[in-house]
């Protein structure tokens, strides 16, 4: 006989592990208030509405709503449950069907839970009944946003990267805030819809190609079954093998990431109403230049030392010195930017953000690419400290 499965969204009711702690904590608070009031109902009302108690109630109710939102995302999204994802992959489930353990989108049970929390909040007043709904909504949207990059939904992730910080802009109207939240919800819905359609996700490179990934895996290595990665295959295969680990960033990616960082900078400057500090570009460019140089030159050294350069009369080695070009360009841009920023008056936040975006763009897209540097740079590979490697290399 065919057993009829219950409607799948019934599963979203909060589990006992969530309900019991909430009942115990909130109950303990009420009992404590009752004991303080010594059973006197009028005294109970006075204690109950004390500022400290109201704050505690708000924290408990808001926290409960937040934890429920966390539960809704982490319990039902296959990305948060590897075993569930594996099981789904083996099942006949497809993206068009409801998720077997329960939906990740909001359903009427969520409304019921939040309504109950709001009811508790509004009992005897003083705690905003909208608080549980706001806490639930914020945590739910934030968690769904965080999941999107893991689903490799780059366009949606970038869009949310622009939308969330916009909420921090001062003098923003309530209608605009509402509009931004609607846009955030729409982008999240679209991103997760696409993310589920791309299931199964385990074929990382394939998924990336299907989705037109932002990170170009130009020199990605297939999993080396036994040892894990070329970095663990030992010297000199680590550096001379035909497969190299590393990522290169396309110009499109560089543009969007730089624009994103510039936008975050703009929102932060407007939010904090910061005093003009043009040198911030230089403060950013120098460490970034050092980090980039460190990444590029980790494991390689110049073909010969400074004395060799002087004696051979080859002070410049184009094949090696090209690695300095991008950091140098970024530092020069930051110096020029600082000079310009001193003269831009009210346009300071926009100009500063533009400058920072430009510096990031230079770092992301400036040549040579890491692949080009590894394969064609005129450098000398140096044996790194292999003992730091998790495979614990030993010299023969």
């Amino acid at each position: 006989m065919r057993t009829r499965l219950p409607f799948h969204s019934n599963a979203v009711w909060p589990s006992a592990t969530l309900v019991i702690p909430f009942v115990v904590i909130y109950g303990m608070l009420l009992v404590s208030i009752w004991m303080i009031a010594k059973g006197n109902s009028s005294a109970f009302g006075t204690v109950f509405n004390a500022t400290e108690i109201t704050t505690m109630r708000a924290v408990i109710l808001g926290g409960a709503a937040g934890v429920y939102a966390l539960f809704r995302v982490t319990r039902f999204h296959p990305k948060c449950n590897p075993a569930y994802a594996v099981w789904l992959k083996l099942s006949p489930w497809t993206a068009g069907k409801p998720l077997p353990l329960g939906p990740i989108h909001l359903v009427w049970q969520d409304l019921a839970v939040i309504a109950l929390l709001s009811l508790i909040a509004s009992w005897r007043g003083h705690v905003n009944p909208a608080l549980p709904a706001m806490a639930f909504g914020l945590v739910y949207l934030a968690m769904m946003t965080i999941l999107l990059p893991f689903l490799r939904q780059w366009p949606a992730s970038v869009a949310l990267g622009f939308l969330w910080p916009a909420l921090a802009l001062p003098e923003i109207k309530i209608e605009t805030v509402a509009g931004i939240f609607v846009a955030i919800a729409a982008v999240i819905w679209f991103g997760h819809w696409k993310g589920l359609r791309a299931f199964p996700w385990n074929a990382g490179a394939d998924v990336q190609r299907q989705n037109g990934s932002i990170w170009q895996t130009e020199i990605r290595v297939e999993p080396v079954a036994a040892v894990g990665a070329p970095a663990n295959v030992g010297w000199p295969f680590t550096v001379l093998g035909p497969k190299i680990q590393g990522h290169s960033i396309s110009n499109r990616t560089a543009f969007w990431l730089s624009a994103l960082f510039g936008w975050w900078c703009f929102c932060a400057l407007r939010f904090f109403q910061a005093e003009p500090f043009p040198e911030i570009m230089l403060v950013l460019a120098i460490p970034l230049g050092l980090i980039r140089f460190g990444i590029y030159c980790s494991g390689v050294v110049p073909p010969f030392n400074v004395w060799g350069r002087i004696v051979s009369g080859r002070l410049l080695l184009p094949g090696y010195d090209k690695v300095f070009l991008t950091p140098l360009a970024a530092v020069l841009i930051s110096i020029a930017g600082a000079i310009v920023l001193r003269r831009c008056g009210d346009w300071y936040p926009a100009a500063e953000s533009l400058g920072i975006a430009l510096i990031w763009f230079v770092f992301f897209s400036g040549g040579p690419t890491r692949k080009n540097w590894i394969l064609t740079g005129q450098h000398r590979y140096r044996l790194m400290n292999q003992s730091r490697n998790r495979q614990l290399m030993r010299q023969v």
Partner: protein, 259 residues
């Protein structure tokens, strides 16, 4: 084919390689000998792509090293380098590591596993195949490293001191025969640095002798004999070419001190 074109290199002020020109056709095994510090490992490093020379360039099968990303990747697929002191992952088993190396070079899985079994038999490592590398002796680790180079099936092999590092005599002999067979199959080009004349005499088609950052001679054993006028063994030829005053120095050493 390996073509070394006018390669010069120096790490600091002292030249390590000076105007080196070499040509190793496919199916040939070239052994490089030289005094200590003569630049053998540097030359092999330049050929293997470990370092870019200060001047000159190297071509592997007609493709210039480091000329473009595609060219370099194509060369890397065809070339394997056995370092003088390779580093191995201690906590992996021999078989796991060899599988990983083979996969790095895209060797077909079935062929790879079969090849590993055969290599382990050749080097008497069959009982060590499934134990962690850390449990092996130094000589066995060297054998494993050699297996790592061979398992790649790369048609160009650059081997730095493959016969040293604690190999037992039977392993030296086995490796020598293996390399000779590979070279004579016509599919492999092998360059190795070695200081063991008996093995070089056995396996090498050509011998290059390095001294003072230059190639003093590069020929077959018979050619070197003719060039030096020495009909003796390879060490004698080497001595005549690199250290002609060795006998004189020894005589001086045993002379009664003046004071």
């Amino acid at each position: 084919m390996i073509n070394v074109v006018d390669v010069s290199h120096h790490y600091g002020v002292r030249p390590v390689l000076s105007h080196i020109n070499l040509r190793v056709p496919r199916g040939q095994l070239l052994a490089i000998m030289g005094a200590n510090g003569a630049g053998k490992s540097t030359l092999l490093g330049v050929i293997a792509g470990l370092l870019a020379p200060a001047k000159g360039h190297v071509e592997i099968n007609g493709v210039r090293r480091r000329s473009s990303e595609e060219a370099e990747l194509a060369i890397r697929k065809q070339l394997v380098f056995l370092a003088d002191h390779p580093w191995l992952p201690e906590f992996r088993t021999t078989r796991e590591w060899l599988l990983a190396v083979g996969q790095l070079y895209d060797v077909d899985s079935d062929r790879l596993m079969d090849h590993i079994d055969r290599l382990l038999d050749v080097f008497q490592l069959a009982d060590k195949g499934d134990s962690p590398i850390r449990n092996c002796s130094n000589g066995q680790k060297k054998k494993i490293a050699i297996c790592g180079a061979l398992v790649t099936e790369a048609p160009v092999m650059v081997l730095d001191e493959p016969f040293t590092g604690g190999l037992d005599p039977s392993a030296i002999l086995a490796l020598g025969r293996l390399l000779k067979h590979l070279a004579e199959s016509g599919n492999f080009t092998i360059v190795m640095a070695s200081q063991i004349p008996e093995t070089i005499e056995l396996v090498a088609h050509q011998i290059a002798i390095l001294g003072d950052a230059r190639i003093i001679a590069c020929d077959t054993l018979e050619g070197l004999r003719a060039k030096t006028g020495c009909s003796g063994s390879l060490p004698e030829i080497f001595e005549r070419l690199v250290h002609p005053q060795t006998l004189e120095h020894i005589e001086n050493y045993f002379k009664r001190p003046k004071v």
